[in-house]
Structures are given as structure tokens and as C-alpha cells.
């Protein structure tokens, strides 16, 4: 097997275990402890907020401010104006592309 195929097998297996532990272990317990349930409800918010930050401000492990920020600001305005999700995403791309065209 090539190196890449070995990585696929082991990384794939490890990743699957991480993905499946929650649903397999907790899946059919109707009554989770309510504190646990609240934590589970709250947890995605900081994780996704962190994904916003890492996908907007990082490149090659360093803090970077570039045209993506313009896209995120436009997206925030679009969300504030309650535009549909598709427009939010398209406007973010458009704003970033235009900014790059003129300022980069």
C-alpha cells in the first residue's frame, strides 16, 4: 500500500471513531442528564464561531487580515438585513472578489 493509502485507512478509521462516538454512545438514551443536554446545545455556537474566525483570519498558521474580512463584513450586513442564505454567501464572494480586483 502507498503512504497515501495507509493515511486514508488510519486517518479514516480514527476520524470515524471520533464522528460516531456521540451518536452511538448517547444516541438512543431518551433522557440525557439535562445539564449535559444544555452543554451539548450550547457547544456548537463557540465551535462554529471559532470556524468563522479561523476560516477568515488564518492562513498557514498565522493571523492574517486580507480581503476575506470584507466578505465577512458584507455577509454580516446581509444577515442583519435578513437576506436569504444563498445571497449572504454569494455577496460575500462578490465583495471579496471585487476588493481583490481593485486593491490587491
Amino acid at each position: 500500500m502507498s503512504d497515501a493509502a495507509l493515511v486514508v485507512v488510519f486517518l479514516g478509521t480514527g476520524t470515524y471513531i471520533l464522528k460516531a462516538l456521540g451518536p452511538l454512545y448517547f444516541g438512543n438514551r431518551r433522557e440525557l442528564p439535562w445539564k449535559f443536554k444544555s452543554i451539548a446545545l450550547l457547544l456548537p455556537t463557540p465551535l462554529i464561531a471559532a470556524l468563522v474566525v479561523t476560516s477568515a483570519f488564518s492562513s498557514d498558521n498565522s493571523l492574517t487580515v486580507d480581503a476575506r474580512v470584507v466578505g465577512v463584513i458584507v455577509a454580516a450586513i446581509a444577515l442583519w438585513k435578513k437576506l436569504p442564505f444563498v445571497f449572504v454567501v454569494v455577496l460575500a464572494a462578490l465583495a471579496t472578489a471585487i476588493f481583490r480586483l481593485f486593491f490587491a
Binding site: D3, V8, K19, F26, A40, T45, F57, G71, A76
Partner: protein
């Protein structure tokens, strides 16, 4: 049309737009594989078996830089540690037989969790999770195949068209409604601050995991009233 039908339609629209948003990154991943001497089947193996965008990029980059297999696997696993947190948070909404749960667990990625967790009933959370996961799975694998076969220089395409900004925009859109609640706002703020501080100092993947510690600042159980669902 009932409210629930309208909600399902809006979930499908979200799932398809987020699938389209990640498509160029699938092209880029395929191209990276081709440039790194990784074949079509292995590239598709990454996109279907590993199925975790950032971890795939990390693992292939390590291999391309002559890193060891162990280093490539470790980098990928660190990035995917967050799937454990996603799985725990989605679990209450993913009921079903053991086999069904085992099958749909493969779809436990950022996008499926984000769409699922922004819904307000168990049924719609499961619906959002499945649609989000399947939409990304299909488009991610199709674009990986195109990228690895055609060796497109997708990197410049991604930046020229501003596509790299669609990912943070989509994630922001997915938590936007939650930010109406004070507790969610607090953890979103602290979590993103933690992540931003850690970006320069830790390997990729760690800032996102670290953001989970933001819930220490609040008492999560106070959100019972403001964000309870069925």
C-alpha cells in the same frame, strides 16, 4: 404550506448553497493530490472515507512535504477532534437503529452540524444534518474527482472569485439566529477570541477545539428556557 414544509425548503436551500460553497475547495483538494503524486483512488478515499475537509488538506500537505505517515495521521486527527464534540451535541437528535446511527455518523462534519444545530426541533435538526451532510458529501467527492483528474490550478480560482470568503460567511450565517440569545453571544465572542489568540501559536485545528472551553464562562444550564427544543 405548513411552517414545517417552509422550514424544510429553507433547510434544503441552505444545504445546497453550503455544498456549492465548498465545491471549489474540493477542486483545490483534488488538484493538491495530483500535484503531490496522489492518485485518483486515494484522493477519493480521502474525500469519502476520511471526509473532513481541513484534515484532508493537512494530511496531504504533510505527505507532500515528505512528512511521515504518523505525522500526517496525527495532523488530521487533531483537526477532527471537534467531530467528537459535534457528535455529542447532535446525538440527542439522531435517534434510530444502531446500524442507521453508525451509517449517518460518517456525515458528522462542520457543515452538517451547523445546519442541524440551527434548527429548533429534533426532527428538523436530523433533517438539516442529513441534507447538509449529503449535499457536502456528494459535491465534495465529485469536485475532488474533477480536481485530481484535471489538475486544475484551483487555488487562484478560489481567491480570484472570492470563494475563500464564502466559508466564514456561511458559518456566520449558520449561527446568526443563535446570537439573539445572550448566552450564545457570550460563548461565541469568547470562543472566537480564544481561537483568534491561538491561531499563531498552535497547529491548525487546536483553536477550534479550544473555543469549546468558552462555555466555562457561562452556566450552560441557564439556556434551558431561552433555547429549549422538543
Amino acid at each position: 404550506m405548513t411552517t414545517s414544509d417552509a422550514q424544510r425548503r429553507s433547510i434544503k436551500a441552505q444545504a445546497i448553497s453550503i455544498g456549492l460553497a465548498i465545491a471549489p475547495f474540493g477542486l483545490a483538494f483534488g488538484a493538491l493530490c495530483a500535484e503531490s503524486g496522489i492518485g485518483v483512488w486515494e484522493a477519493l478515499g480521502f474525500s469519502s472515507i476520511v471526509f473532513g475537509g481541513s484534515s484532508q488538506f493537512a494530511a496531504v500537505s504533510v505527505l507532500a512535504d515528505d512528512g511521515t505517515i504518523i505525522a500526517a495521521i496525527t495532523a488530521g486527527l487533531l483537526l477532527n477532534l471537534r467531530s467528537l464534540a459535534f457528535g455529542v451535541s447532535m446525538a440527542p437528535s439522531l435517534k434510530g437503529s444502531l446500524l442507521w446511527r453508525a451509517g449517518i455518523s460518517q456525515l458528522m462534519i462542520d457543515e452538517s452540524t451547523a445546519i442541524g444545530s440551527s434548527q429548533n426541533t429534533h426532527e428538523l435538526r436530523r433533517y438539516g444534518y442529513l441534507w447538509g451532510g449529503l449535499s457536502v458529501f456528494v459535491l465534495w467527492n465529485v469536485t475532488t474527482l474533477i480536481g485530481v483528474s484535471l489538475l486544475a490550478n484551483a487555488d487562484s480560482l478560489v481567491t480570484d472569485l472570492g470563494i475563500d470568503a464564502t466559508i466564514p460567511a456561511a458559518f456566520l450565517g449558520l449561527i446568526w439566529n443563535k446570537l439573539e440569545h445572550a448566552t450564545h453571544r457570550t460563548v461565541a465572542f469568547i470562543g472566537s477570541l480564544l481561537a483568534m489568540i491561538l491561531i499563531p501559536f498552535t497547529p491548525a485545528g487546536i483553536p477550534v477545539i479550544a473555543s469549546a472551553f468558552s462555555i466555562i464562562w457561562v452556566r450552560p444550564w441557564i439556556i434551558q428556557e431561552e433555547n429549549s427544543y422538543e
